[in-house]
Point group: C2
């Protein structure tokens, strides 16, 4: 049985874990595949946007001085001397009382300084010429999208570590980034330890449970944007666990185990980590569930982190989102690797008093512009139902009286794409 | 030039569009790949959870009646008669003053009705036997995870159309779902129309802009969970647009075009849709940007929707998230295909008055449990910068005085994984 059990705070553990450099491999992906990656380069505008003064409407380009006094009593008549689509350039110099039929996006012809929408004109033909009648005045610059009004050339648009969202892709394409530097998806190895575990295809037997943790963690890995590699189930013998963890250390970028980290007689994981040359950073944290989460670091092979999660489904889940996810996100270059933290109004009493920080699975909703939260399902570390329905983790620091309806609580958003750069005082070391 | 321009409300258009049956193909995926899909079957528990009374701790299983009066003055001594790991069964009938060393997750031995944590006992050896000293009383059932307390056999856990989240995967594995029925990812075809468009690898020229919309829409398609197929750029001729749209109708599940839907002389898309046998459902909607979004339906090939988005980047973006996304999500079986709608406090004045509903790109944040929102960047339909930074669309119905700081506004969350079943009065027809 492994003996080191000095309790550490969640903040200290995260800080220690995130302080190690991680393997971040720069790759280039075509823009069609860039969605969901994180930028490995700053994105800078290569031109003004718009890159020329252009028309935001289908209509007519005019000289505002011709139309300055137009109204329904004194309509102005202009002759249409050219017609340009968005891709065309008008090569004429527009003179007094002339106008150009112009499509959305087209360059403003020389001499013109305002656009009137087609709906605001009356168009007519006379002697083979085309004319428009304008019944309202126009100011210089009216209805023109000016060069650089959206973005200036050389402006920094997105910085390293930003998520490539739908909108970011629009920016990248606008500035000619057909290939984008991002960080490679790390490969995360997962093994479940425990002789009580059945494959999910097996029938339940007394004393046995199906291995759900491996698949849950695999999903979390994919959610973070990485690749999950499964190493099955290891029986509770030191030899078997050591053999598979050693193999994983050679084959993957991050090693995750479940089970075998408690104080039971068959809990070999911390010991195995040490025997494989890793330094155990923690194996008792001031949170529940997940207090026995064991994190170790090995210097070999460029430095690798080993995460030993609890075998309890809920503790394993909390460990996966609190510890494994930020590390994976850091490897992906995500500059907001921690779960987004916000505050919400508690809508159900939580009476149970704990001497350490509780992380209660909850559901959030909005009502009257406010965020509300309440616990979901059974709050025991073995409970699996509450994992499936939770959209937040409610952080409840120890206190002597419990929490009541109306209390303001900190919550971590489980389904937010946006994250946080920091966790408490822990600054992401990217 | 296409003439039909009867203005319709956003709600009416969405209702009409979502009323058509869409192609939903059921497939089976292994649990390792199920994350992010939507269920094509209800998930029911095949057993109680826990499936037997078990220990949530490492400790000792005892008979509570032996310990009922234990305290520090009158400690109770029990003899340890067996030791079981999580996978083992104790075959003894536990008698008076006996205890069993038990690991987390193991089945409670016959005769025992309480668990004491290892930390709360003193363990000692005497005459080759092992004993524990207990200094606090235990109640019947204390520290036992009872069979079925988390979930009962036969309970419906997740329903058709639910997103397969990390937590859902845990549930699926727990109940032996190694393969899961989901809906196949639809293939969405994208073509950008417009003779002013350059490939993103091309240098800018006067009067030309790079094709950013195709890539932005491609990212949105991937974000929704589907597959994007690119058909490049079509010049502004009816023949070219017709030829590519016709090809797409044969090859993809949903056709998206950008450009060519306005009232310009080269705007052929609505006409092309009709000539290809589709019924145009709308081409003028009471929203800005995106008012010219053209949606059509064709009966052939099992029924297909054609979506003609504006060529303006912001209008194209709004059209993609408001119209294309819900349709794609419906094809994926997502029972919440619309953007999540919540309310927030406006933190910047929006003075510009519009006669139709404005959809302003904004950023949201939480402060004092409240959601706040303000516009981001330049709010013109050509602006691309605001797309990249927006996390919400602010819905501003027409009014005569503008909006001021402190107003409560409806917003659509752009980055929420969770969606809404309805949009206004529009019920998702899944």
């Amino acid at each position: 049985m492994y003996k080191l059990r000095k309790q550490q705070t969640l903040g200290d553990v995260l800080e220690k874990m995130m302080s190690f450099p991680v393997l971040k491999i720069e790759i280039t992906v075509p823009i069609e595949e860039a969605y969901g990656y994180y930028l490995a380069e700053d994105i800078v505008s290569d031109s003004d946007v718009p890159s020329f003064d252009r028309s935001p409407y289908d209509g007519f380009a005019v000289r505002s001085e011709d139309c300055m006094h137009a109204d329904s009593q004194a309509p102005v008549i202009l002759m249409v001397v050219d017609k340009i689509g968005a891709e065309n350039i008008c090569n004429l110099q527009i003179k007094q009382c002339e106008a150009v039929r112009i499509m959305t996006g087209a360059k403003i012809p020389d001499g013109c300084d305002a656009i009137i929408k087609i709906e605001s004109t009356r168009v007519f033909e006379e002697n083979g010429n085309s004319y428009i009648e304008i019944r309202k005045s126009l100011k210089p610059g009216q209805n023109i999208s000016f060069q650089g009004e959206d973005l200036k050339q050389g402006e920094k648009l997105l910085c390293v570590g930003s998520r490539i969202t739908t909108g970011a892709v629009a920016l990248l394409a606008t500035f000619g980034y057909s290939e984008i530097k991002v960080y490679k998806k790390p490969v995360v190895g997962i093994v479940a330890t425990g002789s009580e575990l059945l494959e999910i295809t097996e029938k339940l037997q007394a004393g046995k449970i199906r291995n759900s943790n491996s698949y849950m963690i695999g999903a979390e890995v994919i959610k973070c944007g990485a690749i999950a590699r499964h190493y099955g189930i290891a029986q509770d013998t030191k030899e078997e666990i050591k053999s598979v963890v050693s193999k994983m250390m050679n084959e993957v970028d991050l090693v995750i185990t479940t089970g075998g980290v408690s104080v039971g007689d068959f809990d070999y994981v911390p010991e195995v980590f040490e025997e494989l040359g890793a330094e155990v950073l923690c194996n008792k944290i001031d949170i529940r569930p997940g207090s026995v989460t064991t994190i170790a670091h090995v210097n070999e092979r460029g430095g690798k982190i080993l995460i030993g999660l609890s075998g309890n489904p809920s503790a394993s889940f909390v460990g996966a989102v609190l510890f494994a996810a930020p590390l994976i996100k850091k490897m992906l270059g995500n500059r907001q690797p921690f779960l987004k933290q916000v505050r919400a109004v508690l809508r159900e009493n939580i009476n149970k008093i704990d001497p350490i920080t509780k992380l209660v699975r909850g559901v959030i909703w909005e009502e009257d512009c406010k965020l509300h939260v309440k616990p979901t399902g059974l709050d025991k570390s073995g409970a699996v139902s509450s994992i499936a329905y939770a959209t937040a983790l409610i952080i409840l620091p120890p206190q002597t009286t419990g929490y009541v309806v109306g209390d303001v609580v900190d919550i971590l958003l489980l389904e937010s794409v946006e994250g946080s750069e920091n966790f408490g005082h822990t600054v992401c070391g990217i």
